[in-house]
């Protein structure tokens, strides 16, 4: 439960540094990026272009999306040279759990 007016700092001031990380901007998302792991070559062009640093990587591999912060802008899907990221309406994804991180090298690197 977010704080009420009596407990919030006045004037919209934010008193802690770097706390934007705790802000669930993923709640704004209307479309969710879904990756075809088999088609992905880990070129990381999505990682370069994502404006919200929401492409998760491990050891040079794309391992998933940070859906807590991803706003669903679709830039990753747009720049993907293999067109292996699809933007799916959140309404259709309501019952689909967030996919687990894909450890290590995935997709085309096999």
């Amino acid at each position: 439960m977010a704080k009420g007016w009596k407990d919030l700092p006045i004037g919209g001031m934010i008193l802690e540094a770097g706390n934007s990380e705790t802000y669930n901007t993923g709640a704004w998302r209307a479309f969710r990026p879904v990756r075809d792991v088999d088609e992905c070559t880990n070129c990381l062009i999505c990682w370069v272009n994502c404006p919200d640093s929401s492409i998760k990587t491990n050891d040079g591999s794309m391992v998933g999306f940070d859906l807590f912060h991803c706003k669903g802008c679709g830039i990753c899907a747009n720049v993907c040279p293999r067109e292996c990221i699809e933007m799916v309406e959140e309404a259709q994804m309501a019952d689909v759990p967030e996919p687990p991180e894909e450890p290590g090298r995935a997709g085309g690197a096999k």
Partner: protein
């Protein structure tokens, strides 16, 4: 020791600013405010004050620079009028919502068009919902003393709200008066040192000002502003009491003049209250029980206090130096506030509005006396022929 000087209203404000010695002044010239910042800039150039004077390209920038400086923890002042205030509009709200205790003198002047440099209250009345406290001054002395108190009011920890100090363009701003100027040390002791709780320059406790504030938090911040405004009347009276102890004159949320036993009364702000006092004296000499109520604090509006103070009056006239176009009967903002207050706080006296003095049109004691006689007729007959009349307009 205080000293009596021959000063016009703007020079009195500049003297007050010199004594307050703010950290930052960002301002842009506009008639009839110009002589305030012009005089003050001389103090800066002569090293009389320690102020960082920021010259800017517009009033929008002036208020923006004030916001930045205040967020950095500075004691900040500025001044403007009319179109200048209008150009600040967006940033007026930013200053109030960000809870920055900026003190600004507004020399009241009509808004264009057609262009007019003389007094009415359409500029500051338009800003009445921006979240600033507004203190209206009858003369140069009041303006100077309101300015000193404004610093304490704005910076009060329960408030942290910006304050406008207002006086009438040319009438007060350029009229030479006998003004008591207090000792510099006494003024500085009264306002004290400004120690902001947070500051952008405090590297040990970094803060963010002015973040994006969407559906999930904005409403709470507006509610906080309401709470600060609710505390304001008590703070204004507390500061006034301390001021009276130190400097002598007692200020309240409003002033009354021969009101206690009045059958008819006029409500009027700023310099015209002085003219109206003369009219009251003339009418009293004729045996007419006339009185006056002069609001000093328009924001926050002391609704219950004013409704109660006018409770015994049979017919009330409100003198508005602005029009709220398209409002009920196209009345003025002061009338609308008082009429609403009377309904809510159980005052069923008769009330009527007199719009006057737009664009600096002179208002004579005889015209005010005539308006009082209209009130007398209303009190006797119980009938109001016209809810809003325009005093001094040519038919």
């Amino acid at each position: 020791m205080s000293e009596f000087k021959a000063l016009d209203g703007n020079a009195a404000i500049a003297e007050g600013m010199r004594q307050i010695n703010p950290d930052v002044v960002a301002a842009y010239p506009i008639t009839p405010q110009t002589s305030i910042v012009q005089t003050f800039s001389e103090f800066v150039a002569n090293g009389v004050v320690d102020t960082e004077f920021v010259t800017v390209e517009s009033e929008h920038s002036a208020m923006s620079a004030c916001v930045g400086a205040a967020a950095a923890g500075a004691r900040v002042m500025t001044a403007s009028s009319s179109a200048g205030l209008a150009l600040m509009w967006e940033i007026l709200y930013v200053a109030a919502s960000t809870r920055l205790p900026i003190v600004m003198t507004i020399v009241n002047r009509a808004l264009s068009a057609p262009i007019n440099i003389h007094c009415d209250h359409s500029d500051s009345m338009g800003a009445r919902d921006a979240g600033w406290i507004q203190l209206y001054s009858e003369d140069a002395q009041e303006s100077y003393e309101n300015l000193i108190q404004a610093v304490r009011i704005a910076e009060h920890p329960d408030l942290l709200l910006p304050v406008m100090v207002l006086h009438d363009g040319f009438i007060t701003s350029h009229g030479l008066e006998r003004v008591e100027v207090f000792d510099d040390a006494d003024v500085r002791a009264f306002i004290g040192e400004y120690k902001p709780k947070q500051s952008l320059l405090d590297l040990d406790a970094p803060v963010t000002y002015g973040p994006l504030d969407l559906t999930d938090y904005y409403f709470e911040h507006k509610r906080q502003q309401v709470e600060a405004m609710r505390h304001a009347p008590a703070v204004i009276e507390e500061v006034a009491e301390e001021f009276a102890k130190k400097f002598g004159r007692k200020y309240g949320l409003f002033e009354t003049y021969r009101l206690d036993d009045a059958d008819i009364a006029m409500v009027v702000m700023s310099s015209t209250a002085g003219t109206t006092k003369a009219a009251v004296d003339t009418l009293r000499a004729d045996g007419i029980k006339a009185g006056l109520l002069k609001p000093r604090v328009f924001r926050p509006f002391p609704a219950k206090e004013i409704a109660d103070a006018l409770h015994h009056v049979k017919a009330i006239g409100v003198m508005d130096r602005a029009i709220s176009f398209g409002a009920m009967e196209n009345a003025g903002p002061l009338f609308l506030e008082i009429a609403a207050a009377m309904k809510i706080y159980g005052n069923d006296s008769l009330i009527k509005d007199f719009v006057f003095g737009l664009g600096g049109r002179d208002i004579l004691p005889s015209e005010i006396e005539t308006a009082y006689r209209t009130l007398l007729q209303i009190a006797e007959t119980g009938g109001i022929e016209e809810l809003v009349t325009y005093l001094g307009v040519r038919e």
